[in-house]
């Protein structure tokens, strides 16, 4: 039996993670409102490869409605080389939050 939801993850700093947790949505980074928001299939991203640990200290887990993946496919960054990583454009973020996200939870790396 297939799940009736889909799960994704993103890594971010404490400030971003707590903001996501509180608002239950992904928000543009202050002063970076036009940049896309990256999310990925579970387990595909190694946060240690991204940069300084304090910038990626939190794992932001996103539970989304079934069918989200189909919508996300148009934003898949490098389908051939790095499948499963999606760059949601800033102007599509409200649609993602309002129509697809069910819940968001956060966990500090090293403690989850």
């Amino acid at each position: 039996m297939s799940a009736s939801y889909e799960t994704y993850e993103r890594y971010g700093c404490e400030e971003e993670a707590k903001d996501c947790d509180q608002k239950q949505k992904l928000s543009p980074k202050p002063d970076h409102e036009t940049q896309p928001k990256w999310i990925a299939e579970i387990g595909l991203v190694d946060p240690r490869r991204l940069g300084k640990p304090k910038r990626y200290r939190y794992r932001i887990a996103i539970v989304a409605k079934k069918g989200t993946r189909e919508w996300l496919k148009q934003f898949e960054a490098k389908p051939e080389n790095e499948p499963g990583r999606y760059a949601i454009p800033a102007n599509e973020l409200p649609k993602f939050n309002n129509e697809y996200v069910i819940s968001i939870s956060i966990a500090k790396r090293g403690t989850d």
Binding site: G43, D46, R48, R49, K52, P53, K54
Partner: protein, 136 residues
């Protein structure tokens, strides 16, 4: 593909032993190097594979990554390189994390290649250094 749990323990220990031999040969059989080899091991935590502190659930790559939170040049390093900037120190630690993660990813790829090999199951094959470091 990510099926490391199927790797026999004997193969893991064999690889662990050979990696240590390679490292000591690369460095030198000094007291510090030999002591270092006694305190780490190849292994996996959940589905993640890497080089970890022996008998502990801590990857060394995670420790190196955590070092990056030291954004100011440590005094001990400053004594060697007084003109080094914080940015240059941060470059050094970022690169160290990336290279270590790359090395681990290469080991994992090598491992998975062995899993796919038809001859692998009943033999403990010698380690081929060229395989470990190619196609990462």
């Amino acid at each position: 593909m990510n099926n490391l749990a199927n790797i026999p323990e004997s193969y893991l220990r064999n690889l662990d032993s050979q990696i240590k031999q390679i490292l000591v040969s690369f460095g030198s059989e000094t007291e510090d190097n030999v002591e270092c080899m006694n305190h780490f091991e190849l292994g996996y935590l959940g589905t993640d594979f890497g080089i970890k502190i022996k008998n502990k659930k801590i990857f060394i790559s995670d420790i190196i990554n955590a070092l990056e939170d030291m954004e100011e040049l440590p005094q001990e390093v400053k004594e060697y390189y007084p003109n080094m900037t914080d940015q240059e120190w941060q470059t050094s630690t970022r690169l160290s994390t990336l290279i270590f993660c790359w090395f681990e990813a290469s080991l994992k790829k090598y491992y998975l290649k062995q899993l796919e090999s038809a001859n692998y199951k009943n033999k403990e094959k010698p380690i081929n250094n060229r395989l470990i470091f190619s196609n990462t």
